[in-house]
């Protein structure tokens, strides 16, 4: 069913053979990526495989040295900042927390991509800010300072800042890697709900069990290449977990719960 829906809609994002070179070293050697409306795609892979570099490259934040990236058919290289800001929002792992800035003010900064230089916010912009806060479920503490928030609350605020751009795609780079279990569930549930409401969500994540539970598709990045793309049950096979992560592990799904059964110590090999 997912495949049928993907084929029916045009891709919001289409990336082919993307390569990135930083200071003479090839970080990304050939990556393909598609994203459609209403789809949550998880990008997984070992440390240093190039996951973050891939999402930064398709976001226009890291210049690719080869390959093609297009957003709704428009070439990434042809787009200037303001246009790009309307096509995708990028949510970093952890943003700096300036003192004396409230949640609403931070989300308002997110809305500023809609404003021409020196123009003030209109009523429509203020509505957009409130809408973004509701979708990220941060309205309850909208007037609190960022410095007073917990890690999970701050991450949802970052998502709200991204949503205020009102782009059809939200890209989150390891949003849960510093959160406890409960906060991780909160953020994961929000991202899934946003995808269900029609947003395209690209999620870089380390937790494979989490990825398997919430993603429509999983893309595996290994050594600068995208090596697999598909449903969790196909992509995260025991063989691939061994090959890509060097782990003796198995993905288990049972009554809506997912887990990774891992042999942690080497004598089990």
């Amino acid at each position: 069913m997912e495949a049928a829906r993907s084929a029916a809609t045009t891709a919001l994002l289409e990336a082919r053979g993307v390569e990135v070179e930083i200071a003479g070293t090839k970080i990304l050697r050939g990556a393909d990526l598609d994203l459609h409306a209403g789809e949550l795609v998880a990008i997984v892979g070992p440390n240093g495989a190039g996951k973050s570099t891939l999402v930064r490259a398709v976001s226009g934040m890291q210049k690719p040295s080869a390959g093609s990236v297009s957003w709704s058919g428009r070439d990434l290289a042809e787009m200037r900042g303001r246009e790009l800001a309307r096509r995708r929002a990028f949510v970093p792992q952890r943003m700096p927390v300036p003192a004396g800035v409230s949640v609403r003010e931070a989300v308002t900064i997110g809305r500023s991509s809609h404003l021409r230089p020196l123009r003030r916010l209109t009523g429509e912009d203020r509505d957009g800010v409130e809408r973004a806060m509701e979708r990220a479920q941060v309205t309850r503490f909208a007037d609190r300072d960022l410095t007073t928030l917990s890690g999970g609350e701050l991450q949802r605020v970052q998502i709200a800042v991204g949503l205020a751009q009102e782009a059809p795609v939200l890209i989150a780079d390891e949003p849960t890697s510093q959160l406890d279990l409960g906060a991780t569930i909160g953020v994961a549930d929000r991202l899934r709900a946003l995808a269900n409401s029609g947003l395209g969500v690209l999620l870089v994540v380390h937790d494979l069990a989490l990825a398997a539970a919430i993603a429509d598709r999983i893309v595996v990045v290994s050594d600068g290449h995208t090596v697999a793309d598909g449903a969790a049950s196909e992509v995260l096979s025991t063989e691939r977990l061994a090959e890509v992560w060097g782990a003796n592990a198995q993905l288990v799904e049972h009554e809506g719960r997912t887990a990774l059964h891992v042999a942690w110590l080497s004598h089990h090999h």
């Binding site: 800001a85 990028f90 949510v91 943003m95 800035v101 997110g110 230089p117 800042v161 751009q165």
Partner: protein, 327 residues
């Protein structure tokens, strides 16, 4: 929000008080009611009118402009570099301007009228060198590179200044006033030369306020919103260089003001949002310099003390007191 409005109101009140005192007090005291009449064009005695209009008004305007420019330069540099230690010193402007001024004072004392432009030119040259080094090679435009290149350039030009002073000790006394930093009663002449640099700097800053607020949420958020973080930093550096170099041309080296005023304003307003900090630093800087200059030339009138050290002596206790209360 109410707190910020309150701080703005207090700063504006302080500025008005400082301006009125600056026009009224000096070697000759002009009653405040007369000052108001003269400024409003309702007359006053010819002597009073002449003192206020040709001596004190230009000096007060200079104090306000320089104070506002240094406050704003510090605020945008601290925001752009995300570093509380940033001030016009760290992009080399102060060192360059000082060297340019001393060059004229010592080598061409007959052409002292060239001092403002030379100070301005060397201030901008030093900043340009800092940017050229910081924006080349790997990691271009990183905060660490800007700060280190700035400190290197500051050391270089300061060494040149000290070298000149040591080589011509008999001319050093006339250079002290510039290095200490102070305003002079030279009418509108200096302002006529450098006002375009102030104007360009202030206009530039208006366009930087929103990008700087984006940058406060990190380079990635700024990039997500379509800004280029390195370009924002470069823009802030250029605007600050224009403002600080023009200030040095008029009032010598007053780096302290640019460092401290934005911090005081942030602590008082309880926020680092640039839509508040930048205008508040402008008003606060203007009020502080106009007030300090008035004190510096009235306390031991007719002797004028240089306002720089004076301001530091007054400002440091206030700054430390606020710092103690800050979380």
């Amino acid at each position: 929000m109410a707190r910020r409005t309150l701080v703005f109101a207090a700063l504006i009140a302080a500025l008005i008080a400082a301006v009125v005192c600056s026009l009224a007090f000096g070697a000759v005291k002009v009653p405040i009611s007369t000052v108001i009449d003269i400024v409003l064009g309702k007359g006053g005695s010819p002597t009073d009118t002449q003192i206020v209009e040709t001596l004190r008004l230009p000096r007060t305007v200079e104090a306000m402009l320089v104070g506002a420019a240094l406050g704003v330069a510090g605020a945008i540099l601290q925001g752009a570099l995300g570093n509380p230690l940033a001030s016009p010193d760290v992009i080399g402007v102060t060192g360059g301007a000082g060297f340019g001024a001393i060059l004229i004072i010592i080598l061409l004392p007959g052409s002292i009228a060239l001092l403002p432009l030379t100070a301005l030119a060397f201030g901008l040259l030093a900043a340009a060198l800092v940017f050229a080094f910081a924006w080349s090679g790997r990691n271009r435009g990183s905060v660490g590179k800007v700060v280190l290149a700035g400190i290197a350039m500051l050391s270089l030009f300061t060494a040149g200044t000290t070298g000149l002073l040591a080589a011509f000790p008999e001319r050093a006394p006339s250079a002290i006033f510039f290095i200490a930093g102070g305003l002079t009663s030279s009418g509108w002449r200096d302002l006529e030369t450098v006002w375009p640099y102030f104007a360009a700097g202030f206009v530039f800053v208006l366009f930087l306020i929103r990008p700087l607020d984006r940058l406060a949420l990190g380079d990635d958020v700024a990039a997500s919103l379509g800004s280029r973080p390195q370009l924002i930093r470069l823009g802030a550096g250029i605007a600050a260089a224009l403002l600080a170099a023009a200030s040095a041309a008029i009032a010598g080296l007053l780096g302290f003001l640019g460092l401290v005023v934005p911090h005081v304003v942030r602590m008082a307003g309880g926020t680092s949002s640039h839509t508040f900090v930048v205008p508040a630093s402008a008003i606060g800087g203007a009020a502080l310099l106009a007030g300090a200059d008035t004190l510096a030339r009235t306390l031991r009138a007719p002797i004028e003390m240089p306002v720089g050290p004076f301001m530091v002596i007054l400002g440091v206790p206030l700054f430390l007191w606020l710092l103690r209360k800050a979380v």
